[in-house]
């Protein structure tokens, strides 16, 4: 048994190491260095695998879940009604909101009778699982639409994203409407 273990390899990759002295040509390492340089040179002419972020941004996958976006409908009104299902489904308890009643002169701003007066997502808590998107009955919150990454920051307070950062920009809503009509 003990004699077998030296020659028998379970992985089939066992190599016997010899203690043989290097020859003179091997000892000056000239060929070895040239071989190494060849590999380096070959890589210089290959396509780069990196991009110079943030000047260049890679295309997002269509299902990439990034920063949340509170959508507007075709008429530019906010879709969110502060029903609280996103906050309920959130496993990280990152979402908080406060509802308010729509005034008669705000009909062009909000889609339903009730809207979210405050809507905050704590991006430090968020795990970008997308359950809020799945729970939303009004198709109001999406992680895939903004195509933005939550930027790094040094201040904790800046990670509480309020409605100013989350709601879809009005220009984008207008553009979408134009596209839909065309």
């Amino acid at each position: 048994m003990s004699t077998n273990t030296n020659t028998y390899s379970l992985s089939g990759r066992k190599k016997m190491v010899s203690n043989k002295k290097l020859s003179w040509s091997e000892r000056i390492y000239l060929i070895a260095i040239l071989k190494g340089m060849m590999i380096t040179l070959r890589h210089l002419f290959k396509k780069k695998v990196t991009v110079s972020y943030p000047e260049k941004v890679r295309p997002f996958s269509p299902v990439y879940r990034g920063r949340h976006m509170l959508m507007r409908d075709d008429e530019g009104r906010e879709r969110c009604t502060a029903c609280g299902l996103c906050a309920l489904s959130c496993p990280a308890e990152a979402i908080t909101m406060k509802a308010a009643e729509r005034k008669p002169n705000e009909i062009h701003l909000y889609r339903e009778e009730k809207y979210a007066e405050i809507y905050e997502i704590n991006m430090l808590r968020c795990i970008f699982c997308g359950l809020c998107e799945e729970a939303c009955p009004k198709e109001a919150i999406y992680l895939t639409k903004s195509k933005q990454i939550t930027r790094a920051d040094v201040d904790r307070e800046n990670f509480i994203y309020g409605k100013d950062k989350l709601v879809m920009p009005l220009e984008m809503a207008l553009q979408n409407t134009k596209q839909n009509q065309a």
Binding site: C83, L88, A100, E101
Partner: protein, 341 residues
């Protein structure tokens, strides 16, 4: 009198209805009831959600009843055999009834304050279909103001008449009722009267849908974000036994205590319901328990959670002084969870 419901035998008094006998047995064979209310007289027979199949009329006349019977209005007979959940005909009928009830219901559950404790929501979750076949416009009504405390959403009403019976049997003079007929039937006060009777708030509790909701709780919070507590106070007008719906240290809503069939145990007065919103007004008995699968149980704990104390340097776990600030929902005052030291 002996009656068998879904194979369960029970001995009941003469004059009991099938629904009451089924509720004595409990469990899955209890038919859903949208309009029947055991605490109020002369309710039931309107929504048809409680239809059951009587497979044997009685010992004397064992023929089965040809049509499905409304269990809230049908009295039991000796030796009667009833099929509730075990009958395919009944389940089919419930599905149809749910579809009928939902024809004119706006399905604005994300906006509605009743969502989470709504009987119609439960019914359609259990027996409803996810598609609608009704293509015409739903009936809509102009919003109407019926007083400072109660919000009326006529669009959501299923015309169960429970609130009318409450006003008739609990209060001195009824100022509201169902006006109009057929498609135009609507709950309304007769010529823009305000409902201000001392016990009128119970209309909110008996309403199976979100047609009558609490104005002091309007859009304040969703039902499942509040923690329900049993509490009482000395009240000269009513028993004072209520459920408090708390968010942190704040009382957001006061309702009567409801039993397993979502019926009020004791009616409470408007003062208890609308005016006393300070925790010092109440003696809190303890957390209230709900059915295991109710959404109200979400994030609720039946015992009060103490703060875990770790013996270490003072404030070391809370971070530096300058970091100890409220960053989320800055405009909203502190609650229990994030209380200031």
């Amino acid at each position: 009198m002996k009656v068998t419901i879904d194979g369960h035998e029970i001995e009941v008094e003469p004059g009991t209805t099938i629904l009451q006998a089924a509720r004595m047995i409990g469990g899955e064979s209890v038919p859903p009831a949208m309009c029947y209310y055991s605490k109020l007289e002369d309710t039931g027979g309107k929504c048809r959600a409680c239809l059951v199949e009587v497979s044997k009329g009685s010992e004397a006349d064992p023929r089965p009843m040809p049509k499905l019977m409304a269990s809230c209005k049908t009295g039991v007979m000796d030796g009667m055999e009833v099929k509730s959940i075990s009958s395919d005909r009944v389940l089919e009928a419930r599905k149809a009834v749910t579809e009928f009830l939902l024809i004119n219901h706006p399905l604005d559950c994300p906006v509605c304050d009743q969502a989470g404790e709504c009987d119609l929501q439960n019914l359609s979750f259990q027996h409803g279909i996810s598609q609608k076949r009704f293509k015409e416009d739903k009936r809509t009504f102009e919003p109407e103001n019926i007083g400072d405390n109660i919000q009326l959403h006529m669009n959501r009403c299923i015309l169960c008449y429970r609130c009318v019976k409450v006003a008739e049997q609990l209060t001195d003079d009824r100022v509201h009722g169902v006006c109009g007929r057929g498609d135009h039937a609507q709950i309304s006060t007769y010529i823009s009267n305000a409902i201000d009777n001392e016990f009128s708030g119970n209309m909110i509790d008996v309403c199976p849908v979100g047609a009558l909701t609490d104005k002091t709780f309007r859009f304040k919070s969703r039902v499942w974000f509040n923690k329900p507590y049993n509490a009482h106070r000395n009240c000269t007008k009513c028993s004072g036994k209520v459920t408090l719906w708390m968010f942190g240290e704040e009382i957001q809503r006061v309702t009567a205590r409801k039993d397993e069939f979502h019926e009020v145990e004791e009616f409470i007065c408007n003062q208890c319901r609308f005016d006393h919103k300070e925790p010092t007004d109440w003696v809190i008995e303890g957390p209230r328990k709900f059915e295991k699968f109710s959404v109200i149980n979400q994030n609720n704990y039946t015992r009060k959670l103490d703060k875990v104390v770790i013996k270490t340097e003072e404030h070391i776990l809370e971070g530096r002084e300058q970091d100890r600030i409220k960053i989320s929902m800055k405009n909203i005052p502190y609650t229990e969870h994030e209380s200031k030291e």
